[in-house]
Each structure stands twice: as structure tokens, then as C-alpha cells.
């Protein structure tokens, strides 16, 4: 990645952050903290890694992105809008009756959404199914899944990890948005995940650990992950919950379901640019 591209990605990420804040303000609720922490990951996937666009969104060989931490859909919606999947007008209808953008992703209403995630743990299993289906149908697409750290409390995640490694699904790359905070409190106080890297390694995954806000680090990780054979890769991305908005960073208050006031919106926008 050259400096020009880095600058472009940084600009896209800023726009996504700004849109997350805007959507959250309009909706009066939602999950801004976890949406802001995964912006670089989603940006890097949609702009640098995946073969996906509105034109090929129903093609069998498109790459799949599964937002297993479905509550962070503000980030996904902002990325899908910028990619041209739907119009910006939809932002104002988020979480409101009769509109396209649901409180958690709905593939039947929102173009570009692959799976109705939101119930934690199910997205990673769905992604494993996509990767296995690709193999059974001799399709060459890649499946990418994004998990939350709190989501790892769900037993289903570990069923999925065990199965994916057993099948040697090297067409599956998962990322943990490790922002250290879950719904009510710090992960460490709820149910400690550490030693996380060792746990996932013990499940026979190829594991990488990166700074989830650094595009160079993400580039390096995805490049390596795609070269790994006969094993799925897990990228543990260290992130900051609420990243980019000073008063939201590392604060459990901004997990959700919470909306910004007009004043907070203004402060947040200033803190972004």
C-alpha cells in the first residue's frame, strides 16, 4: 500500500465514522461504540480485499462478509452506502418503522447484507457454512467474518471454531474486534477472554494479532491469512471502542442502545475532523 492509498483509506474511514455518528443521531438509538471500533477493518475488507459490488451482489462467486457482531451494523451500513448498495436517504430511516435499515442487519430488506445477524454467535457459524458450501460447490470465493469480543462468551462460537478447523477451511478468515468492552462492562470484568490467542491457537486456527486501526497492519495480516492453507485464520484485532470520538472512547456507556443528542453529535463531528 502506498501513501496515496493509505490517505484514501483514511478518508473513507473518516466518512464512515461521520456517517455512523449521523445515523445514530437520527435513530436516537443503536450501537455507536462497537461500530466505531471496527471501521478500519470493514474499510480495509470492502476497499482492499473483497470481490464485492452492487453489480455482483447475487453472483455465486462473490466474496462474503458476515458481520457476526450484528449490532455494529452502523459501520456496515455506512460502508455499503459508500459502495453504492443503497442511497444515503436510507440513513434517516434507520431503526424506524417501514424502512430498509433494521436495528440489526436483515438480508431480505438491505442490499449487500448477507445474513441476519444480531443474535451473537450465529454469524460465525453461518460463515463456516458459507466456506463449507463454497468447497462443496467448487466455488472459489472467500468468506470473512467479524466477531465481537463479548460475542466470544457464546458457546456456539467455539463450536464453530472447532468445526472450521476440523474441516481445514482455509477459505475462511475471521476477525475479532477486540475492543475490550462488552455490553455492560469491560470483558475482563464480565468473563475474561485471556489468554485469547492461546485459546484460538488451541482450537487449531492460524492466529494473527494486529492493531485493528492500522491499515498497514491489516494489510500484512490479510495478505498472510490468504496464503495459509488447510487452516482457517483468526485475526485478533486490538481496537478501541468508540474510536475517533473522544467522549465515547473506552466508555461502556456508548455500547448501546443509545442515541446522541444534537450537542453530542456536534462535538463528535468536531472530534472526527
Amino acid at each position: 500500500m502506498d501513501n496515496k492509498r493509505l490517505l484514501e483509506l483514511t478518508t473513507i474511514a473518516k466518512k464512515i465514522r461521520s456517517d455512523i455518528i449521523e445515523m445514530n443521531y437520527y435513530a436516537g438509538s443503536g450501537h455507536p461504540g462497537g461500530s466505531l471500533s471496527c471501521v478500519e477493518i470493514i474499510t480495509y475488507l470492502y476497499w482492499e480485499v473483497m470481490n464485492i459490488s452492487p453489480e455482483i451482489r447475487t453472483k455465486a462467486d462473490r466474496d462474503r462478509f458476515i458481520l457476526s457482531k450484528g449490532h455494529s451494523c452502523l459501520a456496515l451500513y455506512a460502508a455499503l452506502y459508500q459502495k453504492g448498495f443503497f442511497k444515503r436517504d436510507e440513513f434517516k430511516g434507520l431503526r424506524k418503522a417501514g424502512n430498509m435499515l433494521q436495528g440489526h442487519p436483515d438480508r431480505l430488506t438491505t442490499p449487500g447484507v448477507e445474513f441476519n445477524s444480531g443474535s451473537l454467535g450465529q454469524g460465525i457459524s453461518f460463515a463456516v457454512g458459507c466456506a463449507l458450501g463454497a468447497r462443496l460447490c467448487s466455488l472459489s470465493f472467500m468468506t470473512y467474518a467479524l466477531l465481537g469480543d463479548g460475542e466470544l462468551n457464546e458457546g456456539q462460537v467455539w463450536e464453530a471454531l472447532m468445526f472450521a478447523a476440523h474441516k481445514g477451511l482455509d477459505n475462511l478468515i475471521a476477525v475479532i474486534d477486540y475492543n475490550k468492552l462488552q455490553s455492560d462492562d469491560f470483558c475482563e470484568n464480565v468473563t475474561s477472554l485471556e489468554p485469547l490467542l492461546d485459546k484460538i491457537k488451541a482450537f487449531n486456527w492460524h492466529v494473527l494479532e494486529v492493531d485493528g486501526h492500522n491499515f498497514y497492519a491489516l494489510e500484512h495480516a490479510f495478505d498472510r491469512a490468504r496464503k495459509i492453507k488447510r487452516r482457517p485464520t483468526m485475526i485478533i484485532a486490538h481496537t478501541v471502542k468508540g474510536k475517533g470520538v473522544d467522549f465515547m472512547e473506552n466508555s461502556p456507556k456508548w455500547h448501546g442502545s443509545i442515541g446522541l443528542s444534537k450537542e453530542e453529535w456536534n462535538i463528535a463531528q468536531k472530534s472526527l475532523f
Binding site: F115, G129, L132, L139, Q156, M162
Partner: protein, 311 residues
């Protein structure tokens, strides 16, 4: 006598000879669900998922998204309860083309006891939008239904069964359509609506009643959702009394589905034969059905009671 699970395995194998668009997902219970015969013939079309039903159910949706039709073969307790939230949120809500085939239903399970006797599955699965619920009466109908279920786009919950059952239909004699029930016996005094293993018992009860001078119509409610409203209303107008019979809790099952139609469209007195809101227990199914009051004699008694209530 064949069992419904064996019939299921054979039907799968037969269909697989003709079409390659479906695969089977197995949570390490191939012997229990009857799919081993299929597995022997088509080993590459069975995904061994391990004892992890929740992952299996969501994974099935992922596989369906790539174009294959996954048939999840599982015990009903685990399909409809342990993994119900996955069936709802991963399959039914996004409307993925996944079929769930459940064995081990009600007292028909027998010796394994209450942990493995699903007496709630109809109530649970039929309450989920997009989910269709089918309970064939015998191996012949099961075979006919399976093909229709695979041809239909969308989630379907199919009930098979564990213990040997008598055949009711002659080969090639019965088709299956969603939302259509068949009247297996004409009768003007009362209608017995039955599902699954209870259809045979309803027919036996009807024979007994005939000897007593009571003419009982018998309906096979194999398509529990969608249900055949037209036929139920027609029979209610004709006989003005209903008995429902199922190997399931009397709360929320096929009987409740029939009552929902009757109460809204053509109210008639109903007696419900089913498990009376208590857990099953170990035993031979034939002993258990007497103990729990869901044998043919219990249907006869229910008919006598409902006829007294007729206006």
C-alpha cells in the same frame, strides 16, 4: 413393520439417486435419525457436524446461501429446543432454504425417556414465521412429502419418528400438498383430526366406534402448517364435533392448530387427546400410550364425551 426414520433414510436415498441438489447434516446421530443407509450410499453428501446442534443449524443456513439444500437430520428435542433460536434467527427469519427433519417424537421414543421425548416441537416450530410443519402418517406419505418439501423453497420442519409403524397408504396411493389434508374415513357424527403415529390409532378408534353405531370421520393432518382450513370447516359443519389426537403436549400442538381454525370460523365442541402437560417417561411406547391416555381407546372415550356435548 418399518419405522418412520428408516423410511426417511430410504426416501432420501431414493431421491438422491435422481437429484444432487441436497445434502444431509448430521450431529453424530445417523443411527438414530435413520440416515445411515443414505450415508453408506452417498458418503460425500453427508456432513458430520459433531454433537453441536446450534452450530449445525446456523451453518446449514450458510450452506443454503451457496445454493445447496441442506437437510438437517436431528432428534426433535435438539432441533426444536436446543437449537431453536438458530432455527429462528439463522434460518426462518432470513428465509434460507433449509429443511429440518426431526426424529424422536413424543412417547413414540419409548425407553430413552423424557429428555429425548419431544412433546413441544409442533408448538414451538409452528409459532415461527416462514417455518412450515409437516407430520406424515406413514412411510408412504413420508416419501411423497419429502419430495414436495425439497421442491418447496423455504424452511420446513418435518417430523419422522422412531418406533415401528403400520402402513396406512398403499404405495403410489397418496400424494402430499402443503395446506391439504385427506379425509381417510367418512363419518357424520364426529371428526377425529389426527397427526403422525396417531392417525393409525384414530382409524382403529373409528372402527371401534362404527361397531357402536357412531360414524367418525378421520382426518390426516399431515400439513400442520399451513393447515387445511377448508376441510376442517367443512367437517365441522357436517359433524359439529371434533376430537384431536396427537403424540404431543395438548398445549400448542396440532390440536391447538385445529382449534384455532374452529374457534375463528366454525365453533364446535372439541376434546383433545394428547399428553396432558406433563413430561413423558421410559417405557415401551405401547405401554406409555395407555399410561398417558393417547391410545385408540382414549380416542374412543374422547369421542363419547364430545358427542354428549354436541348441541
Amino acid at each position: 413393520m418399518p419405522t418412520m426414520r428408516d423410511a426417511f433414510g430410504l426416501a432420501l436415498t431414493g431421491l438422491a439417486e435422481e437429484r444432487d441438489d441436497f445434502i444431509v447434516l448430521d450431529p453424530d446421530v445417523g443411527g438414530g435419525t435413520g440416515i445411515n443407509v443414505f450415508k453408506e450410499r452417498f458418503p460425500h453428501r453427508v456432513i458430520q457436524c459433531g454433537i453441536a446442534e446450534q452450530n449445525m443449524m446456523s451453518m446449514a443456513a450458510g450452506i443454503a446461501s451457496t445454493g445447496l439444500i441442506p437437510i438437517v437430520a436431528c432428534y426433535a428435542v435438539f432441533a426444536s429446543m436446543r437449537a431453536v433460536e438458530q432455527a429462528r434467527n439463522s434460518i426462518a427469519y432470513p428465509n434460507f432454504n433449509v429443511k429440518i427433519a426431526a426424529s424422536h417424537l413424543g412417547l413414540d421414543v419409548g425407553p430413552d425417556g423424557a429428555t429425548h421425548q419431544a412433546i413441544e416441537d409442533i408448538a414451538i416450530m409452528r409459532a415461527i414465521p416462514n417455518m412450515r410443519v409437516v407430520s406424515p402418517a406413514d412411510p408412504v406419505e413420508l416419501r411423497a412429502a419429502l419430495e414436495v418439501i425439497i421442491d418447496h423453497y423455504g424452511p420446513v420442519y418435518l417430523r419422522t419418528g422412531r418406533s415401528p409403524v403400520s402402513t396406512i397408504f398403499k404405495e403410489g396411493d397418496v400424494g402430499f400438498k402443503f395446506g391439504r389434508s385427506l379425509k381417510l374415513r367418512e363419518g357424520s357424527d364426529v371428526t377425529i383430526a389426527a397427526a403422525g403415529v396417531m392417525v393409525k390409532r384414530a382409524l382403529m378408534a373409528s372402527d371401534t366406534l362404527h361397531k357402536m353405531g357412531i360414524q367418525a370421520a378421520v382426518l390426516n393432518i399431515s400439513s400442520i402448517k399451513p393447515i387445511d382450513k377448508t376441510l376442517i370447516i367443512e367437517c365441522a359443519k357436517e359433524t359439529k364435533a371434533f376430537v384431536t389426537a396427537e403424540d404431543h403436549n395438548i398445549i400448542g400442538g396440532m390440536g391447538s392448530a385445529v382449534c384455532e381454525v374452529l374457534s375463528q370460523h366454525c365453533p364446535a365442541p372439541v376434546e383433545m387427546v394428547g399428553i396432558k402437560d406433563k413430561f413423558g417417561s421410559s417405557g415401551d411406547p405401547e405401554e406409555l400410550i395407555t399410561l398417558y391416555g393417547i391410545d385408540d381407546a382414549s380416542i374412543v372415550e374422547a369421542v363419547k364425551r364430545v358427542i354428549k356435548r354436541k348441541r
